[in-house]
Point group: C4
């Protein structure tokens, strides 16, 4: 009852493109406009990301779920195997590929908009135990949030909640919360405030996978029973659920049905 795979992949690709454009573009603007205070730059960058990510989930969610993140798609498959819902293994690979391609295109689009070199590689090292623990915490929290909402039938709150989570996690983690392997790869291609050196990316991705595992374990412990809406990851996106978006009909019509 989902949209055709091609359409869902387009949604994941364009959505992840725009997500990285938001992250990188607002980082460039912040760096250029607030040169005197790095914290202020991060505040500007985190607020723009928070609101932009929430909006992107609203736009693309009903088509593909608005995962924009390979570990979200993978956990959707993993938990869906138990519930008989979720993505197939083959779909996860296709989603992940679309997300990674989109992320790289997103960095390039930001580079073009801000008249920087279209293709560039970050030299910003981000490594060390603190950063890796930061990514583990950030990703565990993201997975816990998304699947706690899905398993309790509240996926309709995901747009605001996932945005708010990332907005906070920019600050409370030491790594500024990438929490997303595709976005990590995309941010390699921006030698600016939001970039990450290629040599630092693998450590981040490993930490994200570990964090996803921890988050999954937490969700299974807190919410062992699967509700009817468990396939709504990140956003409800099958046809039956979509119809629940429709505003209630006026009393007259309801009586007739």
């Amino acid at each position: 009852m989902s949209a055709p795979l091609a359409r869902r992949l387009l949604a994941e690709l364009v959505g992840t493109t725009l997500l990285v454009t938001v992250v990188v573009g607002s980082g460039v603007a912040a760096q250029q406009l607030s040169p005197g205070d790095i914290g202020l730059q991060l505040l500007e960058n985190s607020m723009a990301t928070m609101f932009g990510l929430g909006v992107l989930i609203l736009v693309f969610g009903p088509v593909s779920g608005a995962h924009f993140n390979p570990v979200v798609s993978a956990v959707d498959w993993l938990l869906g195997r138990r519930a008989g819902t979720g993505l197939s293994g083959r779909d996860v690979l296709a989603y992940a590929l679309a997300q990674c391609v989109g992320a790289v295109l997103g960095a390039m689009l930001a580079n073009v908009m801000f008249e920087l070199a279209v293709i560039q590689i970050s030299v910003k090292a981000r490594s060390g135990g603190g950063h890796w623990i930061g990514e583990i915490v950030a990703t565990a929290g993201l997975i816990a949030l998304i699947f706690a909402l899905a398993r309790t039938g509240r996926a309709g709150l995901s747009a605001g909640a996932v945005g708010a989570y990332i907005g906070a996690a920019y600050w409370f983690t030491s790594s500024t919360s990438f929490a997303n392997p595709a976005v990590t790869i995309g941010r390699i291609f921006s030698n600016t405030f939001a970039g990450i050196a290629p040599t630092s990316a693998p450590g981040f991705v490993v930490a994200q996978v570990i964090g996803a595992g921890l988050g999954t374990a937490l969700v299974l412990t807190l919410y062992p029973d699967v509700g009817r809406a468990a396939s709504a990851v990140v956003m409800p996106h099958d046809t039956e659920q979509l119809s629940s978006f429709d505003p209630p009909q006026p009393a007259g019509q309801r009586r007739q049905s």
Copy 2:
């Protein structure tokens, strides 16, 4: 089943007036109060615009849809032709005229409030490929958001979502996301932080029209099927939909009806 055209045009005129007053007025305040950091000025300006725009959509939406933007009205007409809903071509012209007049009045109102020359022309050049690509991206995203919500019956989320989108797009686009030909014209009449030189305006408007086309194509690809609520652009505003705003009646009353 909509409100009479005159009342809808009044809503578009006053709403666009106040939108430009919010954009220009908060820009003047930010420039005066935070002279040391342009990024902080933009943060203040973007937060005020985000919350102000969301509120204006709530106030005027049920009357006219709260378009405040000629390209939104035009796409409503274009997509409505297929669905048998939306504005007529004549209404689009009337909407656009009301929006442009309102935008100019809004700049003047801000000028008067802040005791600046009532009529003034910006000298702030905003041009170049990066800015134009920024406007294309900004407008494509705005159109995609508004019509994705409308076509999935979620137009009730527009107030918060459109506000959040613009708040983010101030930052992630290189042009600070005008994304609106009427507002672009209005901002010519403010020689302040938020202004745009008359010579730069045509390039912005052309980019916005291109962006609107791209956004429309994206919406038609992602959401080819038109839902029952497709005419609710930006906000539900025909009588039948308005009745769905009413809070659910207590159980006793519902049983009787």
Copy 3:
């Protein structure tokens, strides 16, 4: 079907006390902690007020409507006369008295918390045509928002919307949007960032009354027909409407009723 008058007056008094404590207290904190940039102070002050006001409407709304503002109560009476709802003239006077007393107590509470002189009088002059036009615009917008929501059955959105409006209006008006005679009186008693000299207060109050009139005229023009929920100013607060806050019952129970 409302709560007893004494309880409603207590809600208005305590609510307005806390509103002024939020405005003045956050202004003092901002002034002390960010001495180098007045814009940053206003950003901190406006964000705290926005979120604090929204919360106060949630807490006190179901008891008294959470007016906290004599012009809101007066317009509720004025429009309610036509619809056969709203406050009586005597209630408006009692509401206004409770609001003014609460506002003064709120300034004193902020003074005590921040270890300033409990009773103090502001010397901050706020006058001139620009400021007065600012208050007219600010109050017209506030009245338009509150009564547009009420007349379309959307008063449940008031908490977030009124908070967001004030957060934006701090910035887009030249007067930082007092928009409230009771709060204006309360702010006389704080010789800090948020204060207003007694000699400036009357001009502000006159402008607010004019603005309330303009806002009322706008609402009557845009929404001439009174909906069933028109008495829900600012928040639904009669017994029947309150029951609509209850979450929907599970399907099993609904079937039985």
Copy 4:
């Protein structure tokens, strides 16, 4: 009909851990990145806490109620005795223990992430009448908010509202609104921006208990009648209420049931 006690205690423990990680972690980041302006640090810290706390309530609320705060649990017991709902006395002690342990772990997790000494004791004195009155006001407001929402069947709004309240109370109280004995204990273990010296903690806790009593008295005065949803503190978390999270079923299914 609640989740088993062990699972609820796990939710309280992990939730409070992450809450203190958010508070302390974002404080460390703010202090490091914005060394020039303490107000800007507090803005960054308060925004991260506001959004992070709201998200944590969404994640853990359906399991344990997401109290994260011994005085919230205690008032839930106190008011529940009258209504025949709420925690038992023994549960309150278990909740409080889990919350305090979690809070200490949360400070340690933040220390580890930011590569500071894992165990450290704050030397930041926070005392004096102004601070204590600040904590009384902060906690009274928090209790009033949580139980006003619960007693009117609006606990589903708690995530956003409690987050917004704390975000504002960081600013309008002189004590930056700890409002939570467990979090106060946890913040002893961070010698950074967000810390509190052990000698200052008892005064804060006493003030918080007094504030909780005042807040309870206010709630009982404003909302003497207990609604059906009164046990939903902070978030609905018994099985029957949880089912109300499910999105409405499509018309076809509803007709069949």
